[in-house]
Symmetry: C2
Subunit: 315 residues, 2 copies
């Protein structure tokens, strides 16, 4: 077995049932250099402990998942959501500072669906823009980039009213690209007839906060949320999409985030090894050659020296 691609990052959702200790260990033990974390397992040990564990692991930190869910109308629920997003921003900054050099302070945002009883998808979309406007100054202060993630349109009403990369970029356009970008996830956007143009636009506008890969195939399982596959094991044209992302100059880590019942039931160590293998076959050949990814081209280290105020941003 060859060494894992040095740009591969394991998104913790891929090994959903692993606690933070296990997730860090199996990722590092597989020779993988980076990880994206989820809030719940971080909170299960506490942020300070999680940051220390991450620092000990020597892994780069790539994204924190996830904030968002702010489509409810004004009121207590909305305030609670925005407050919780501020906590998520703080967590992101702390973890990015604890990760190894090359870590990025990116918080992935899943917008949320229609409020109960509502049919007003246009209104829900406006509230996403408003919420990001509320959070942007706080994120800017914390040195965190908010990554608006368009989700596949099959989730438009129950999970995420942001359905295309173009829509995410339209929302982001009101803000500094250092503060608000987009998550480019192959699973969610590969079907879009306009996807290549929008990836190019995202690059031009400095908005690719993270690139995530996994695969799609049919028939979909009974719970469509769990329909994500190892890269290369479905029908997404990962070559074309990856080349489009690379063509924008994106040179950072690439996450694999898979939701699948069988994969979640598997041994986490086996899952990360298989992720590395499938990524190596289906994505690595289309990333920039390794020599262009030598240390000098990486972003500056994100763990702040005492004189540096904030972890690195992706853009």
């Amino acid at each position: 077995m060859t060494a894992p691609d040095p740009r591969l990052s394991i998104n913790q959702a891929t090994i959903k049932h692993a606690d933070l200790r296990t997730a860090l260990d199996v990722t590092r033990d597989a020779g993988i250099e980076a990880i994206g974390l989820w809030r719940e397992p971080v909170q299960a040990v506490g942020l300070e402990t999680a940051a220390a564990m991450l620092a000990d692991s020597g892994l780069r930190f790539t994204t924190h998942c996830r904030g968002g869910f702010f489509t409810v109308p004004d009121g207590d629920a909305r305030h609670a959501s925005l407050d919780d997003n501020r906590v998520a921003i703080d967590e992101t900054a702390a973890l990015a500072a604890a990760g190894a050099a090359g870590s990025t302070a990116v918080l992935v945002l899943v917008a949320g669906g229609l409020p109960e009883g509502s049919r007003d998808i246009a209104g829900a979309r406006e509230r996403v823009r408003d919420a990001i406007g509320d959070l942007a100054p706080y994120a800017a202060e914390a040195g965190v980039t908010l990554a608006i993630e368009p989700l596949h349109p099959m989730f438009a009403t129950d999970r995420c009213v942001v359905s295309t990369l173009g829509q995410a970029l339209d929302i982001a356009a009101d803000f500094d690209p250092q503060v608000v970008g987009a998550a480019v996830d192959t699973f969610h956007i590969f079907w879009d007839p306009d996807v290549l143009a929008q990836i190019a636009r995202a690059g031009r506008e400095g908005r690719i906060a993270t690139y995530q890969v996994c695969d799609w195939k049919t028939p979909l399982p009974a719970d469509v949320l769990l329909s994500r596959h190892y890269p290369g094991e479905g029908v997404i044209d990962l070559r074309t999409l990856t080349e489009a992302v690379v063509a924008t100059g994106y040179d950072r880590d690439v996450e694999v985030e898979i939701f699948h019942a069988d994969i979640w039931a598997d041994d986490p160590a086996a899952v990360v090894r298989r992720t590395a293998e499938t990524f190596g076959r289906s994505v690595s050949p289309f990333l920039a050659p390794a020599d262009s990814r030598a240390a000098p081209s990486r972003p500056a280290p994100s763990r702040p020296a005492p004189s540096r105020p904030a972890p690195s941003r992706p853009a």
Copy 2:
């Protein structure tokens, strides 16, 4: 119970297990004036008989479902598909000629998904354009409008690589609007952030070949193909979409096409009555007032007098 909306058309798929005789009878007996047919039940009795039965029913004919499935590469399968589409065009013309005054000769096209083993969605999309180019002269000769139907992106790889109304209009743009238009179906396009602009564009370009309504809600059933609901029983903003269609000047019939296991298992007569009721509540209030739909504003009768060469087209 009030009389059904005079613009309601029952798409035969809503009562999938009814044969043609039953479908015509329950539709007419419910006081509904129009029907869209599917090829299989028409072929089960033979085209000539089907046309005679339709003429006897006194119903308007609104669409024939369906052609398409022409994303396979060159070869026998592609030729067979195009030949079968020509048969479907002939069927459409014959049925439109047999339907009552105001019938329209519209063949709905579902493009097809990725060929087995392929990841080339861009190539499949090019083949759709090519196939329509092959069929357009035949359709023009027959007086039939081909309606490209964008399907929800969850069907992009296994059923229809045309995923947005904008994409359908881009394909149609190469052709005469009398010959190639689009099917505007709320279920498939409501999630699109650009949907209202694209409906307006479709109207401007004379491309709304048919307007179909049904509803969406979650959780999706295990087979996502069967996730369509009676209008008003889900979360689609039917008011806004219907008003957008009406604003283009669309004044023809509106089909309800529902795929749902429970509805298919129900008594067809009950289904059409319930369709009329739910349509009356959730769609009728947003169609043009009845007095603007008086006979003079309807399209000319489609059953050709001996001197007329072809049934009416929708545009």
